[in-house]
Symmetry: C2
Subunit: 347 residues, 2 copies
């Protein structure tokens, strides 16, 4: 059993948002070493991979880090719904000469098996998306002294998280890239911009609140602080960092004018997530009624994605990005982190 990571005494003011599929321990470690809180996204890792990543992260930094899990309820597979989705995608399969195949990274919720792996490392911070895990699982995480963070996209979600035992609330504004953390409602009209969401959550809860969504430049850190944030969580601004594992296609899209136009889409996983508008989003519409429950949309999109990517095309690739991708810099994560840390005004 390895030495526990240090307990967190105070929340770092800059948190690197976990970005499954675009980063691993390398980015997290670089951010930690620069004085921010690096995050390891675990949603798409097997238990073995989780163990390997944690080991690598712990070797790379002795500073506190965050491990992020999804905590959705896995859906019961629904054959007619899946067939409807397959027939929606069928014209693409036909046109591209692609064979149906199972594929796509699984997204498994936090579990006792994952907690077993995690417990050996006792990470100082564990964050969740889509609510919180069941009370017994949450108690295990809190048992080793970890701070528990989770995303709220409405005031009601923030109050729910506070009541269920979260230590810190992440106010995830509509601008944020990747999956919306929404879990009490499926109505996208409940989703607010950071200017509206952040101060309302700050006023409603007694916990520290982290601002997320649209925070991409040092001046946005100042703005978030003015609105009452105790820290900022930044994702998109790290996507083109040297240490991110963002694919070349994804990086190219982020640094093109295409990045000006993002949308919430359920085409890639079944849950609304923000990404750069690409061909399949344009042609099917970003929110499609036939997309099956999260994460069951992924498997049937995966063969199209693989075939297109093999030809250098991101037509079927989820190009997760926030609404402020213009400021994505190809730079060392440490430099990006320091710029944000310096913007934070010490009272």
């Amino acid at each position: 059993m390895m030495a526990p990571t240090p307990t967190l005494e105070r929340l770092p003011t800059v948190i690197q948002a976990p970005m499954a599929g675009a980063q691993n321990h390398r980015l997290a470690a670089a951010v930690c070493e620069a004085g921010g809180l690096g995050s390891l996204p675990a949603a798409m890792l097997s238990l073995d991979e989780l163990h390997q990543q944690l080991q690598a992260l712990q070797q790379a930094t002795q500073r506190p880090y965050n491990v992020n899990f999804f905590c959705h309820t896995p859906p019961t597979p629904n054959a007619p719904a899946q067939a409807a989705w397959q027939s929606t995608l069928a014209p693409y399969y036909q046109a591209m000469g692609v064979e149906r195949a199972s594929g796509g990274a699984a997204r498994v919720p936090f579990s006792h098996a994952a907690a077993d792996v995690l417990q050996a490392f006792r990470p100082a911070v564990v964050s969740f998306h889509f609510g919180l895990p069941a009370p017994d699982l949450l108690a295990r995480v809190k048992g080793w002294g970890a701070w528990v963070l989770s995303s709220a996209t409405t005031v009601a979600e923030a109050l729910w998280l506070q009541a269920q035992g979260a230590d810190v609330i992440i106010a995830q504004g509509l601008e944020a890239g990747g999956h919306r953390g929404m879990f009490l409602s499926e109505d996208l009209n409940t989703q607010m911009g950071t200017f509206a969401l952040l101060p309302q959550i700050v006023q409603a809860v007694r916990l520290p609140v982290i601002a997320a969504g649209g925070i991409a430049t040092p001046s946005a850190v100042v703005a978030a602080q003015a609105l009452g944030a105790a820290a900022v969580q930044i994702g998109t601004a790290y996507l083109c960092s040297h240490e991110a594992s963002t694919s070349a296609l994804h990086r190219a899209a982020l640094q093109s004018s295409a990045a000006q136009h993002t949308a919430l889409t359920n085409l890639f996983t079944g849950r609304p997530a923000r990404g750069i508008v690409n061909r399949v989003m344009r042609e099917l519409g970003p929110m499609h009624p036939a997309a099956p429950a999260f994460p069951l949309a992924t498997a049937d999109m995966a063969p199209l994605r693989a075939a297109a990517e093999a030809q250098g095309s991101s037509d079927f690739t989820p190009l997760w990005a926030g609404q402020n991708a213009a400021s994505c810099r190809s730079a060392a994560a440490a430099d990006i982190t320091r710029d944000f840390l310096q913007a934070w005004r010490v009272a």
Copy 2:
């Protein structure tokens, strides 16, 4: 002919957003007298009413003020489209025993006839929504030295407005209440939160940029300034002021928990506008494909609205509000204005 209002030497840092249907010259004058820039919404005024309002405003304040116009292209009436809309609303007519009748305030774009009225008053600022008027009309306004403001909801719109001769750009974030100013695209996915939109427009244009959308507390003024705003435009925070003409039903909704849930809806006018979710928005869905082109949805909704309001119900009333209505104060507009002005940090 009356004395011209004083020319604007510098943009006031706090601008009261024009809110047709919820205010007249009284609110505008109170804001001007407190040191902000008051706005008179002219979109729903006849030429006679415009003249009367301008006269009253000029009698109430000697300070610079803003007059706001819509500048949409009026649609060609389309009988089948209107019939489809009528049949969508028919069950409500039947259930409520309402007779079909023409009604609802017209929304007429800026015209030479309006410019004739305006010219006698030479307002220091004229702002537009939905783009800019035709070049000859714009030239008339600029001819008497008025500053021309217009709303941009995307970077492309900001660049268009700059190229066409606007003097100042209003960056209207997704949080804003009332009509989206969007005019180059009808795709709601192009709309961004203020945290993302404001800095991108500030970076893209050489003109001063006014932040709008979600700015409801003094701390939001500080945040907007950090993101590069030259001024802030504030609407919702004035809706419950003593000088607003906001209806009692609208005020009650703003000060209830219902105000936590707004949505963009085309049900009331045909164009997307943000208001508090009420019965008709919930039942038909806030964006309905059968709603005819702006402003032709209004006339058929008006009798339902009148019948419901007569019974004390806002089920069919447009309850325009931004995403940050929680901080609506029942206070004097001068006090609200001074709080915002004091938050502005002088460099």
